[in-house]
Symmetry: C2
């Protein structure tokens, strides 16, 4: 049995770096707080008898030996980076749950069949260095290490340079081939409202929906707001505003909407940012999701069509580029069965599809993978108000322990 | 007669500080380039027999004595600051035209009846430190010096500190009462398309339209773009986008549009700028203009009404604040007559209303004021492509010389 008090204490212990006055977190990838929580993660897991591997993307593998140390470890992983205005559970609960499972083995002197690895994956959020799930993505061979290192933040600093600065470019190659694992479990908060509505603490995750990110550049013509007639303008921000409204309309209309379409623009940069100069240039990012790959493509098609019409109407040029593709994922049946049996022991019978991406998406490309969701109060996440009750954190960790032990037995 | 070659050479001489590779200008108020062009302005006008006053807002008065030096000077003023992506004529042509008039008096050994002042007003653009026309506004008693010094740029630096840093907080009080002028002429590029369509080099300016600036803050709720259902969002950027579209709709519809309404949003800041976190917070600035004060108020009323509806629909809160009010202005009849007679000598019979604000707006509150417009090619301004042909620059300076001499005679 996991120790509920310890799970929750460990969550908040890890939040001492990067916490914000509003009770949330701001621990962007590879900043100084990220360095400190990494140091803490290594020091703490050392106490449970772990050795450590750090790979070229800064992913940290804390490995506790088992009976058969010629086997790759069974892994439990998630992330310790957060959104700029994030909460204390997203990612953190997953790593801490893994640490708790390890601690339970350790204090009960259990020797598992395979070694156990708890993994802190780098830059899952993609908030500072888009795209997201980058550390696990490179490990799974979806991106090269060079691509990973070359990601830049808004200030133009590369992830490679920042990892180097905080001392977390490891000597291990970042690859499932040279640094394999047997399987991957991940606990995560749901970040949506379904478990809260169902009044259940935890659930099996069946898979993850399809998602794509885009970079958009709208170019118009700078001109004086006072002396330029309304019908002689190419206002990039007006066009961009119509595109934001159009993307929303597409995702909230008809059959696409009924099947769960989502389209969001949340990053916008207009230039030259002067009150009396009509915007000449807007950069935005579009995030499209749906449980169905073909619906994501259809939303994209409708967006392109609508955006082109708006561009023509306002004399704008539009550059529209796909920067990230993550098709819908179904997790491994055997792994899910382990989670399902463990979840049923505490009365959790629901299976959900994840609306958010997780490191488990990329590990699932290479090894059997499954996930467990913990209830999010009011479904709120990516917000300082994000909250998962202590008993729900404990429930998810307990389901993980049971699922992990079952899989290790298998 | 003014010297056409010299006028145009002096324009480009002054543009050596702050010019950009695209042929435009980026000389924001009180930056290092602004310091250098101020030094140049003082050094150059010294050669024409001027003494100088610098006031507490950094306005520079280059004064050439006349016959009656107990009288305040007749002034010719405009500005040397530019937009971040501005052109080489906006403001600059006005200061250089004044310098040219002074040079013509000087080389012809003319002693004017009253002294002549050429003024470089501080922060006319308001691009770095909103609102605009700030130096002339403080001088005219429309703002206090404390208010002027306390204006901040996007980085939080105050204008007072920057003026101090570049050595341009003068000892003269910034006030029409203690540092008076008799009258104020201003040459400026039209920044609109009318003279280009009429194929005329210059025009009399009858007055300036009414304008107001607003600060808007839209607050929603940050949430995950992937896991938050479309109908459970309070997306601040979606609301802001609808407001941009709504303001545009109001200004381009019906009688308001027919009477020349303009409404523009050109500054937008969304937070937290993460691709997978729905925007929780948007700041924008709205610029409303019309030839009629009552139309500006009606546009404002309709915007407030429309914005409130959008806020309610999306569960947002809106803070809407007026930050700048500049009522419609009619220039002085005697001064306009001087400009008109001079303009007719070169066949320029048109009188226009200015769509842009100018320092002449604030000087007109205190002393007889008039303006002369020079043709803008294609009506383009606040853009590196802004262009006024050499012969049109010369024409405007020539109209100024004639108008000034007539008024000095009166
Ligand atoms: N869990 C989480 O918030 N990950 C970010 C990846 C995404 O955008 O879905
Ligand atoms: N002339 C000019 O561009 N001034 C800026 C003031 C305005 O916004 O109208």
């Amino acid at each position: 049995k996991i120790n509920s008090t310890r799970v929750n204490a460990t969550i908040h212990e890890s939040c001492q770096w990067g916490s914000t006055p509003d009770g949330g977190m701001n621990r962007l990838t590879a900043n100084d707080d990220d360095r400190k929580v990494r140091d803490w993660f290594i020091a703490t897991t050392k106490e449970y008898g772990c050795t450590h591997k750090i790979d070229a993307m800064g992913n940290i593998f804390a490995i506790r030996p088992g009976e058969n140390n010629n086997l790759p470890p069974i892994a439990i992983g998630s992330h310790l980076d957060t959104q700029p205005t994030g909460g204390r559970y997203d990612g953190i609960l997953g790593v801490v749950s893994g640490m708790e499972v390890m601690k339970v083995l350790h204090e009960n002197n259990v020797t598992s069949y395979a070694p156990l690895a708890v993994i802190n994956w780098t830059n899952e959020e993609g908030a500072r260095f888009p795209p997201c799930m980058l550390g696990s993505g490179v490990w799974a061979g979806q991106f090269t290490t060079e691509y990973g290192h070359a990601r830049v933040d808004a200030a133009g600093i590369t992830l490679g340079n920042e990892l180097e600065r905080i001392g977390y470019i490891g000597t291990e190659a970042c690859s499932f081939e040279t640094n394999p694992i047997l399987a991957h479990f991940e606990v995560h908060i749901e970040q949506g409202p379904i478990l809260d509505q169902a009044e259940l603490p935890a659930a099996v995750v069946g898979g993850v929906q399809s998602m794509r990110w885009y970079d958009m550049k709208v170019v118009g013509r700078e001109a004086h707001t006072g002396s330029t007639p309304m019908d002689r303008r190419s206002d990039a921000l007006l066009g961009a505003a119509k595109m934001i409204v159009e993307a929303n309309r597409i995702a909230t209309t008809g059959a696409l909407a009924d099947r769960g379409a989502r389209a969001t623009i949340a990053v916008i940069n207009s230039s030259p940012q002067s009150i009396n100069t009509i915007s000449g240039d807007v950069q935005m990012n579009l995030d499209i999701r749906s449980p169905f790959d073909e619906d994501v493509l259809e939303i994209e098609r409708q967006c392109r069509e609508g955006f082109d019409k708006i561009s023509t109407e306002h004399g704008l040029t539009l550059n529209f580029e796909t920067i990230w593709v993550s098709p819908a994922v179904n997790f491994n049946e055997t792994m899910k069965q382990c989670v399902r049996s463990s979840a049923l022991e505490i009365g959790c019978h629901l299976q959900l599809t994840s609306g958010a991406g997780h490191d488990a998406v990329y590990t699932s490309k290479r090894v059997p993978t499954a996930m467990i969701f913990a209830r999010s109060r009011d479904g709120v996440s990516h917000n300082p108000a994000e909250y998962t009750r202590p008993e729900d954190c404990a429930a998810a960790a307990q389901v993980l322990l049971g699922a992990y032990l079952r899989y290790d037995d298998l």
